[in-house]
Amino acid sequence: MAEPIIQAENLYKSYGAVEALRGVSFSVEEGEVFGLLGPNGAGKTTAVEILEGMRTPDGGSARVCGLDPQRSGERFKDNIGAVLQSTSLPDKLRVKEALELFAQFYPRRADTDELLRRFQLEEKRNAYYSQLSGGQKQRLALAMALVNDPQVVFLDEPTAGLDPQVRREIYDIIEELRRGKRTLLLTTHYIEEAERLCDRVAIVDHGRVIAMGTPRELKHASAGTTRIEVRLARPPVDASLARLEGVSDCREFDGVYVLHSSRPPRTIVALVKQLEAENNELQSLEMFSPSLEDAFIELTGRRLRE
């Protein structure tokens, strides 16, 4: 069996008293799109930056393309491309210049005109970096990550802070890369991003991988329950919602009661009866089939954006 193209084994990293990584392990096969999903501060960026050779782990080992990122120097960097969580370039650098500049550092170079076309930056080729919108800057960062035609591309929160339309544009680009059978490791705290783009996902929380699998596997791991979200006029009587028929789990997030039910119709009937008995009112009710978010809540007890 071929060696995984990315291998992280028992990675540890601390910043002073803060333990960012506490034994993170995972591997990525060639051509796979692998996602690290977790809330801010979970340790995703630290893990990726160790794999990019930007940080040295306190413990454990990392290998990318068969090379040690910390010790393989230029040879390693020739094989990878990366979009950092926030990329910055000199304000007065033109788009085309940025691509050509970075392309010149590598022995293997992609056609920069082709990259401009592919990332819809042709019209902006002579624009200064400071004149680009957030989405254009991110497209440029993606194009720069490909100037050396890398085997592995790291994308650290590639859509963070972008508006939904731009986010969809970036998804299209990543899906195009995926079709090109390039190995991608992306970090995200957007559930839909992980579900839409990744072949496999590792859920990271508090510096640990707490679950790993395909999005489908993870969704099924959440007991196959339906999520019912209700808003009530007044808080319910103690734990009355958790005792409703079919309910396996009940939590409250900002006034929204999230019930996980294996028998949704019976749960709803029971809910209505219970509210009548409590002289309470239903303000809204939404039902969701099992999602990655449910898996995340079940595993961590928290929502991603908390």
Binding site: E74, K77, S88, K92, L101, Y106
Partner: protein, 297 residues
């Protein structure tokens, strides 16, 4: 070396798009030139060469200021991080800054020399080869001193404060602006420990042809050693990451960059003939020595 040149080319382009660059690299040195000519050279054509030496020193010393600020800005804005992902080493990043500064200083140096010769009637071209050599090695040395400042400071605020302090010493105590003859004896002796004094003395000696080849060689050697030590220290202390703070003890490395000038300072104070530096201004202002090749002892 290839990466150094690639980076230098783009840095030159970026500088040419920056109005502040033109102010500090062209307008300010020329303003100094006109001011000094008015102050010292009016009615004394023999003094123009001396003024040129001083202004060339200020132009070259300016490398120190710009590079440290640029490097700290790049680090604070996370620009260096992006370069770190590429196969570019700290050496190439730093060397490109030095090369850029040198290339960009050359047109100003040429304009200053031509203005002095043709507009202000400087009597000779001076020792052109010595001027070129001192401008080249001086630019490299002062850029490297700037890189050290960038390496040991954590924020732009710190960089500006340290730059101001060092710059004022260079400006006032090197003989580049105020002739050393105007200072007390102990300040004159203390000035021999400053790198800027070797640059100013060398360039004033080369433009006025009052320095021996031995003296110019001393200045060149002092600046060359200073450059090599400063460059290596800044390479060792180089940080790509905005959040990477330099440990307190690492700042002591800066003192190592001063060692060559400590040695040269002692040597010059004990065995050197550097009173020439002090007396050159008096000598020229009396109109007695602008074309001398041998200094008075």
């Amino acid at each position: 070396m290839r990466h150094t040149w690639t980076l230098a080319k783009i840095r030159i382009r970026l500088a040419m798009r920056n109005r502040t660059f033109f102010f500090f690299t062209l307008a300010m040195p020329l303003a100094f030139l006109f001011f000094f000519v008015f102050l010292f050279g009016k009615g004394q054509p023999g003094m123009i060469a001396y003024v040129l030496g001083s202004v060339l020193s200020l132009t070259v010393m300016g490398s120190f200021w710009g590079l440290s600020v640029q490097l700290v800005t790049f680090r604070e804005q996370g620009i260096l991080r992006r370069f770190r992902l590429a196969p570019v080493g700290a050496g190439a990043m730093l060397a490109s800054g030095i090369l850029t500064n040198y290339i960009l200083a050359l047109p100003t140096v040429a304009i200053e020399i031509l203005l002095c010769r043709w507009a202000f009637h400087m009597q000779t071209w001076g020792n052109v080869w010595a001027i070129l050599l001192l401008v080249s090695i001086g630019s490299a040395a002062f850029s490297a001193f700037g890189l050290i400042v960038a390496s040991v400071t954590n924020t732009m605020q710190e960089t500006q404060i340290i730059n101001q302090l060092i710059w004022m010493c260079f400006l006032l105590l090197s003989g580049a602006t105020i002739p050393l003859a105007g200072f007390s004896h102990w300040i004159q002796r203390a000035s021999l420990f400053l790198p800027a004094t070797y640059l100013a003395a060398g360039l004033q000696g080369a433009t006025t042809r009052t320095a021996t080849m031995g003296e110019i060689a001393t200045d060149v050697v002092a600046l060359t050693i200073g450059f090599l030590v400063a460059f290596e220290i800044s390479r060792q202390l180089f940080r790509w990451e905005p959040e990477a703070k330099v440990p307190g003890r690492a700042k002591l490395w800066v003192l190592a960059a001063l060692i060559p000038f400590l040695v040269f300072g002692v040597w010059q104070n004990v065995w050197g003939h550097r009173p020439t530096i002090v007396s050159r201004f008096d000598m020229l202002s009396r109109g007695s020595g602008h074309a001398q090749t041998t200094p008075p002892h």
